[in-house]
Amino acid sequence: MLLPKFDFHEPKTVNEACQILAEYGAKARILAGGTDLMVNMKKKILSPQQLVSISRIPELKNLEASADHIRIGACFTVADLCESDAIQRHLSALAEGAKNLGTPLIRNLATIGGNIGSARPAADLPPPLMAYGAQAVLSSLSGERTVPLDQFFLGPGFTAMKPDEILTEIQVPALPASSGAGYINIGVRKAQDCNLVNVASFIALDAGGIIQNARIVMGCVGPIPLRARSAEKILIGQKPDTALFTRAGAAAGSDSTPIDDFRGTAAYKKDMVGVLTRRTLDIAFHKATHRQ
C-alpha cells in the first residue's frame, strides 16, 4: 500500500507548530508516533496535504509530578508510560492500559497524545485517564485552554480540538489519600488486539471507609468512552464489598450502549462490562486500602 503525497513539517517548538497549523488549518494534520495516522493514510481514509511532525519538540516529552498534578507531555510514548516509576506509583491503572496497548514495536512509537487525539472508542488510555479525572491542555496561537477528558471526545475520530490546536499535555489531578483505580481490557487474543470491552474504575474512600467518589469509564460500548453514571450512583455513600460491586457491574452493563459488530455481539459486551466493572472495582478498592 502506498502513501498519498504530502508536505512534511518538523517544527522545533510548540509555537512554531501552532504557526504552521494556523496557516494550513484543516489541510494539516499533526503526526506524533504515526501508528494510527499512517494506517489511515495508507488506507486512503485520510489524505492530509500537510503533515506536522511534533516528535522533535522536546517540551512535549516531559513528565512532571508536583503536589497537585501529574503532567504528561503529549509525546510521552506508551513505552515510557510502561516504564515510568511515577506512573506506576500514582497512576497504576494508566500503566496497566499502557502495558496492554499494541505490541512492543507499537508502544515504542505510540504517544499518549495520539491515543487521545485519534479518539477511538476502543483505545486503551482514555478510560483510565478519565477515571482519574484527567484533562487535556490545548494550545494554539490564540493561547491555551483546558478541557476535561469527559468533554473532549465527541464521536469516533472526533474531539473538541480545533484544527489549529495542539494537545500539549495531559494533566491528572493528585489523588486523594484513600483512592485507587483499576483497568482491565479484554480481546480475543492476549495481545495486539482491538479491545472487545475495556473498563476503568476509580473510587475514593472517606476516613470511615465509605465511598465518597467513584468514576467508572467503559470503552468499546458507545461512540466514545462512556461514564457508567448509574453504577457510580450506586457506589457513592456505600461501604465497598463484593455484593455492591456486583450490583454496580450490573448497572454499568445497563449504562453501556454497545452494538453488534463483527468483533462481537452487544449482548456479550454488555455482560463483560458487568464482569470488568466488578473486577476493576475490586482492584480499585484494593489500591485504595493498600496505598501508602
Binding site: L2, T103, I186, V188, R189, K190, F262, Y268
Partner: protein
C-alpha cells in the same frame, strides 16, 4: 551415540545467517534492469456478468506499457487438478467473487500501474450472490459454473465394509456435528513474482512459490509456450502452507505482460489481496456417527461432510477426498462410509492448507471419541490405545502404516505431561485433554496423471575435488529442506556437511513436485540419497582401480577414505595430487587419504563426476475411485496433550501447555523437526481459538489484515514440550518421514477436550472465542435450570 555422522543431529540451518542478518533475497528485494511494475484489476462484485470492458483510458496514460484482458490472454482453462480446470487467467463472461481477475497493467512504476487500473472501465450486470452452502444448494440458486449444476463442485461417496450392519452390533452409537471456519494461512510473505522474457523467447519466472514444477507446467499450458522455454526459479520464500502450491494469476499475468513488453515485470499481492485470493483451509461441516462396543472397540464410522468451496475448485477435489480418507487411521476401524460434497459459492476459492482436508475432520472425531470414552467410563487414553494400529497394519481404505509409533507417542505425552496426576483432579476452570492424528508423507501420485518421477537430483563434484554440489528443484520455503537435503547428501556420500553446497528451487535442476503434502523429506530425500550414493560409487570405483583395492573394502566418512586392510599404499596418489597443487598451503602431508584427493583423482581419470538420483513411490494400495488421495509411502503420526485455563466469567481460554510427541521416522535435523512441531501447535492453536475469515453480505472480506484476522501472538503461545518419537520407516531415506503437517492434527481436538474438561461444556464450532465459550457456558447453565 548415533550411528550417523551428519544426520540425526542439530545442524545449523543454511538459511539462518542470511535471514537473521537481512541478507536473504526474497522477491521484494529483487529488481532487474528496465523492470516494469504490474497491477491487477480485480472484481469489486461477487457475481456479475461482464457487459463491456474499455481499457483505452488506461492504455493512454503516460507510463503504461501494456494492458491485458481475456482478449489478449486467451481462454485456456487451468486450475490444480486437470479433472477440474475451471479458471481462466482473466474473467471473460462473468466474475464469480470479489477479487476475481479482470485485467492486468504493466507500467513504469507501481503508482502508474495502480492509476491505470483505476482507469479501466468495466460495465457489469449484477447477478444474485450466493455466499453460503445452504444458499448455493437451494432450489433455483444461481449457478456459478454452467458445467456444475446445483453448484456441486465435487462429491465423493465411498463405503469400506458395511457400516449399517456394523451399527447393528454396536452398544453405543454417537452422532455429532462440527464446524470449523475458513482460514487464512497468514504466511509472512505475500505472493510476488518477477517474469522476464528474453530475445530468444525464453521466459524466466522468479516467484514466491512452493511448487516451481507445477507453476512451470501451468505457465507453459496457459500461455502456450514450449515447456522447454519456461524456467521457474524460487528465491527465498516466506512460507506458503499450501496456498502457494499452485500457479496464481499474478504469475500468469506477469509472464504475459513480460511477453507483451519484452521487459521484466514485477507483481505483488498486498495483504488484502492475499485474503481475497484465499485458497487456504475450507470451512467444513462434519456430521459423524460412530459406533462402538461396550469395551470401546470401534466398529464403524458414518461420515457426511460439506465443504464451503468458494468460486473455483483449486485443490478442492483432493480436499473433499482427504476429509474422508484420513479418518481411516490411526485406529483400527473396520467399517467406514463417507459422503462428501464440495459446494461452489461467490467467495474466494478455498484450497489446501497444512493438514490438507484432515484437520477439521480430526477435530470432530477426536472430540467425539472423548465423548464416547466418557460415556463408556473408559479413560480417553485407554480408548485410543485399545483401538490403535501398529506398524504393518492396513486401514479399511488401504492405507499401509508401514511404520507407526503412535502408541509410543501416546505414552510419551502421557508421561511428559503428568497426565495421570492431573486428569480428573484439576480444579474447575482448569482442564487437560488429549488427541491423536496422522498424515501422509507425500501424496502417492502427482496432481496430474503421470508416470513422472516425483523428484530427480543431480550431484556433481567440483573438479578440484573439494565440494559436492547438490542440484534439486525442491522448494525451501522456510521449513528447512535445503539443510535436510545437504545433510542427507553428506551422510550418504560420507563427507562433512560443510563440504556440501546446495542449490534448489529451480526447474532447470530437474523435476521436483515441490513442497506440499509433506513430501520432500521422504521423496526428494530419497533422490538426494541415491545421487550421493552414485557419486560415492564413482569415486570409489576409480580409487579401486588406482589402488587395486576392492570397492567393498573402502569407506568414506567425515570426508576421509577408510580402508579395511591396513597398509594400503596411496602415496602415489598423494604425490600426484600435491604436484598438481604446487604452492598451495592446504596440501595433505600425512594422515589418511582425503576425499578431496580421491575426488580429484576420479576427475582426472574419468572427467566430471556427476551422480543422479530419482524417486517415485512404489505401487501403493487402493484400487477404488479416489484411492489416489490418501495413499502415501509412509505416514507420520502424533499425540498431544493440552492444558488450559478457562475464565468462566469472560470465556477467555489460556492454553497453559502443550505436550507434543511426533513420530517422524528418523529425525534428520532434530531442530527442524521441533520447529515444525512448535509451528504446527501455533497454527492449530490459532485455528482453535481465534481465526476466521469473515465476509459482509456482499462477499467482501471484512478482516483482510493481520490486525483483525487474529493469529496467535507470542503471549498466546504456551510452553510447548516437544518429544520426538523415532521409528524406522522402511520407505523413507534413512528411515525418515513427515512432520510438517501431521503435527497439526491433534492440536485442535486436544484443546477442545481440555476445554470440556475445564468447564464441562462441549463446543462443536470453532473458533473458541471468548464470546463463543461464554455463550456456551450460559446456555448450559440455562439448560440446567430448566
Amino acid at each position: 551415540m548415533s550411528e550417523y555422522t551428519v544426520i540425526n543431529s542439530r545442524a545449523v540451518r543454511r538459511d539462518t545467517p542470511d535471514k537473521a542478518s537481512g541478507k536473504a533475497v526474497f522477491i521484494d528485494d529483487m529488481s532487474l534492469p528496465g523492470m516494469l511494475y504490474g497491477a491487477l484489476l480485480q472484481s469489486p462484485l461477487a457475481h456479475a456478468r461482464i457487459v463491456r470492458i474499455d481499457t483505452s483510458k488506461a492504455r493512454n496514460l503516460p507510463g503504461v506499457k501494456s494492458v491485458v484482458t481475456a482478449a489478449e490472454a486467451g481462454l485456456i482453462k487451468y486450475g490444480v487438478s486437470p479433472a477440474r480446470y475451471d479458471e481462466t487467467l482473466f474473467c471473460h463472461e462473468k466474475v464469480r467473487y470479489v477479487g476475481d481477475d479482470i485485467a492486468a497493467v504493466a507500467a513504469v512504476d507501481l503508482e502508474t500501474a495502480i492509476e491505470a487500473v483505476s482507469l479501466i472501465e468495466v460495465e457489469y450486470e449484477e447477478l444474485p450472490v450466493v455466499l453460503t452452502i445452504e444458499d448455493a444448494m437451494a432450489e433455483g440458486a444461481p449457478v456459478l459454473h454452467n458445467e456444475y449444476p446445483g453448484n456441486i463442485c465435487a462429491e465423493v461417496h465411498s463405503e469400506f465394509g458395511n457400516v449399517e450392519a456394523a451399527f447393528a452390533n454396536c452398544d453405543l452409537i454417537k452422532t455429532t456435528t462440527f464446524k470449523n471456519k475458513r482460514q487464512d494461512a497468514a504466511f509472512i510473505e505475500p505472493q510476488g513474482c518477477i517474469a522476464s522474457y528474453d530475445h530468444f523467447g525464453n521466459l524466466t519466472l522468479y516467484s514466491s512459490t512452493q511448487v516451481p514444477h507445477y507453476v512451470q507446467r501451468t505457465v507453459a499450458m496457459v500461455l502456450k509456450l514450449p515447456i522447454g522455454k519456461v524456467r521457474v526459479v524460487k528465491p527465498y520464500v516466506g512460507a506458503g502452507f499450501g496456498i502457494k502450491a499452485s500457479a496464481n494469476p499474478l504469475e500468469l499475468s506477469a509472464c504475459l505482460l513480460s511477453m507483451k513488453t519484452g521487459k521484466p515485470v514485477k507483481m505483488n499481492y498486498n495483504r488484502e489481496q492475499v485474503f481475497q485470493y484465499g485458497r487456504a483451509r475450507h470451512q467444513f461441516t462434519h456430521t459423524m456417527t460412530t459406533g462402538v462396543k461396550k469395551d470401546g472397540a470401534l466398529l464403524a464410522l458414518k461420515h457426511v461432510c460439506y465443504l464451503d468451496g468458494g468460486a473455483y475448485s483449486s485443490f478442492g477435489i483432493a480436499t473433499v477426498y482427504y476429509a474422508g480418507s484420513l479418518l481411516g487411521g490411526p485406529y483400527k476401524l473396520p467399517n467406514m462410509k463417507y459422503d462428501g460434497y464440495r459446494i461452489y459459492n461467490n467467495k474466494p476459492a478455498c484450497g489446501a492448507m497444512r493438514g490438507h482436508g484432515g484437520v477439521a475432520a480430526r477435530a470432530c472425531w477426536e472430540q467425539q471419541l472423548d465423548m464416547i470414552a466418557e460415556e463408556l467410563k473408559i479413560s480417553p487414553i485407554e480408548l485410543r490405545l485399545k483401538n490403535m494400529m501398529v506398524a504393518g497394519d492396513v486401514t479399511c481404505n488401504d492405507l499401509n502404516m508401514s511404520s507407526l509409533g503412535m502408541k509410543e507417542c501416546i505414552e510419551a505425552v502421557q508421561n511428559g505431561s503428568e497426565w495421570s496426576a492431573k486428569k480428573g483432579k484439576l480444579p474447575k476452570g482448569k482442564g487437560i485433554g488429549m488427541a491423536c492424528g496422522f498424515f501422509v508423507s507425500g501424496a502417492g501420485y502427482p496432481i496430474y496423471r503421470s508416470d513422472t518421477y516425483h523428484g530427480t537430483v543431480v550431484i556433481k563434484l567440483t573438479e578440484d575435488g573439494g565440494t559436492a554440489l547438490v542440484y534439486t528443484a525442491s522448494a525451501e520455503i522456510g521449513q528447512g529442506s535445503d539443510t535436510t537435503f545437504a545433510m542427507i547428501a553428506a551422510e550418504a556420500l560420507g563427507i562433512r556437511l560443510e563440504d556440501v553446497r546446495l542449490e534448489s528451487g529451480d526447474t532447470d535442476f530437474g523435476v521436483d513436485l515441490g513442497a506440499y503434502s509433506s513430501r520432500q523429506t521422504l521423496m526428494t530425500g530419497h533422490a538426494v540419497k541415491e545421487a550421493a550414493e552414485d557419486v560415492r560409487q564413482k569415486v570409489l570405483e576409480v580409487l579401486s582401480k588406482e589402488l587395486n583395492v576392492p570397492v567393498g573394502e573402502m569407506d568414506i566418512r567425515n570426508s576421509l577414505i577408510g580402508f579395511k586392510q591396513a597398509n594400503v599404499d596411496f602415496s602415489g596418489l598423494r604425490t600426484r595430487y600435491v604436484k598438481e597443487h604446487r604452492g598451495w598451503t592446504d596440501n595433505p602431508t600425512d594422515g589418511p587419504l582425503t576425499f578431496k584427493e580421491a575426488a580429484r583423482m576420479a576427475y582426472l581419470a574419468i572427467g566430471s563426476i556427476v551422480g543422479t538420483g530419482k524417486y517415485k513411490p512404489h505401487e501403493l494400495g487402493g484400487k477404488y475411485k479416489g484411492a489416489a488421495v490418501g495413499t502415501s509411502p509412509a505416514y507420520g503420526c502424533s499425540a498431544q496433550i493440552a492444558e488450559v485455563t478457562v475464565d468462566e466469567e469472560t470465556g477467555q481460554i489460556t492454553v497453559d501447555k502443550i505436550t507434543d510427541a511426533h513420530d517422524c521416522g528418523r529425525a534428520i535435523n532434530i531442530t527442524s523437526v521441533e520447529g515444525q512441531m512448535e509451528g504446527s501447535v501455533s497454527m492449530g492453536l490459532g485455528e482453535a481459538l481465534f481465526e476466521e475469515v469473515k465476509f459482509d453480505n456482499k462477499g467482501r472480506v471484512i478482516n483482510a489484515d493481520l490486525a483483525e484476522y487474529k493469529i496467535p501472538t507470542m503471549l498466546d503461545m504456551p510452553e510447548v514440550k516437544t518429544i520426538i518419537v523415532e521409528s524406522n520407516e522402511p520407505n523413507g531415506p534413512f528411515g525418515a518421514k513427515e512432520v510438517g503437517e501431521g503435527a497439526i492434527m491433534p492440536t485442535i481436538p486436544a484443546i477442545l477436550n481440555a476445554v470440556y474438561d475445564a468447564i464441562g461444556v462441549r463446543i462443536h464450532e470453532l473458533p473458541l472465542t471468548p464470546e463463543r465459550v461464554y455463550m456456551a457456558i450460559q446456555e448450559a447453565k440455562k439448560g440446567k435450570k430448566t
